[in-house]
Amino acid sequence: MTDPSALIDQVQYEEVGEFPVERGYIWTSCSSVENGNPLFWDDDVAAELTDGPIAPPTMLSVWFRPHNWAPGRTQVALPLQVHFDLKEQYGLPEAVMTDNTIVFHEPVRPGDVITSRQVLKSVSEPKTTKLGTGRFWVIDVEYHNQKGELVGVESYTGFGYKRGEG
């Protein structure tokens, strides 16, 4: 087995979003949480504050989640593939995400095409928690727009484990 920690700080799974950022999703998202922020509903406010419409910052990860089906695809695509790779490589059948940090940079705008890439930042030594024995890892997902500008970084801390005996 290759040591998965050899992949630390290596760029993996660079992928271009499957569709350009669009306002329909922005309105559906705002509607789902009853967010009436005029920045997303009133073009005059968007023109004044942000030089035109932008997406809510927390929609960052929306733009990289794959379609549930696409022509020619034979299996369901998994977002955050590095997480599933680590589970597999270390033989850890269960996993939970313990925390998640999002840092927002340039605003995301309708028409943008967002590229995501995954970077493993760290893997812990084996540890035992009340869930079982396994390892903690931190994975960053970096997002850039079509101009190469950084629009955001998400950091996920995962714990992959085997259930404890008894």
Binding site: Y25, T28, S29, C30, S31, S32, V33, E34, N35, G36, N37, P38, L39, V45, L49, T50, P56, P57, T58, M59, S61, V62, R65, N68, M97, T98, D99, N100, T101, I102, V103, F104, H105, E106, P107
Partner: protein, 156 residues
């Protein structure tokens, strides 16, 4: 309606938000975030495969709820810089979720950008389900607009 930095003090509490979650809330939130996993829309899968009591709110949609809670308070000039989430429990249909926030820090950075840090909690019946530590840029005057900051002038 636009909040400016000098009006904010450490210890200030944000206006709470209370919302009755239904199955529609959970399913709409999952689809709005392009999260097709069955535990966010399929009751039978959630109960019999995941062992949870029902379908439950997904994390990206919770992030959207936290954003709405924060910008209801700041107005449209409030610009999120950073959010750190800790997931402690799930939110199910039938739950009344309550968002509460307290200002933990107010500062101006080296480039003159105003910032507030807010400790936000999502609770159901007093039990904490998710916490979010948010850092959000707030205008320092009526003329200031954090959204005009780009590149090295934006240090989230």
């Amino acid at each position: 309606m636009t909040l400016v930095l000098k009006e904010i003090n450490e210890g200030d509490r944000l206006p709470p938000l209370s919302y009755d979650v239904t199955a529609t809330t959970v399913v709409l939130g999952a689809l709005a975030t392009r999260d097709w996993r069955p535990m966010h829309h399929d009751h039978d899968f959630a109960v019999n495969r995941n062992g949870t009591q029902d379908i439950f709110l997904n994390t990206p949609n919770q992030a959207a709820w936290f954003e709405r809670f924060l910008t209801d308070w700041t107005g449209p000039k409030g610009r999120l810089g950073r959010m750190k989430f800790r997931m402690k429990g799930s939110v199910f249909p039938g739950d009344t979720m309550v968002f509460e926030g307290t200002v933990s820090k107010v500062e101006t950075d080296d480039d003159g950008c105003g910032w507030a840090e807010i400790d936000v909690s999502l609770t159901v019946g007093g039990d904490v389900k998710t916490t979010c530590l948010a850092r959000i840029a707030i205008p320092t005057s009526d003329d200031d607009n954090p959204w005009s900051r780009r590149a090295e002038r934006w240090v989230p």
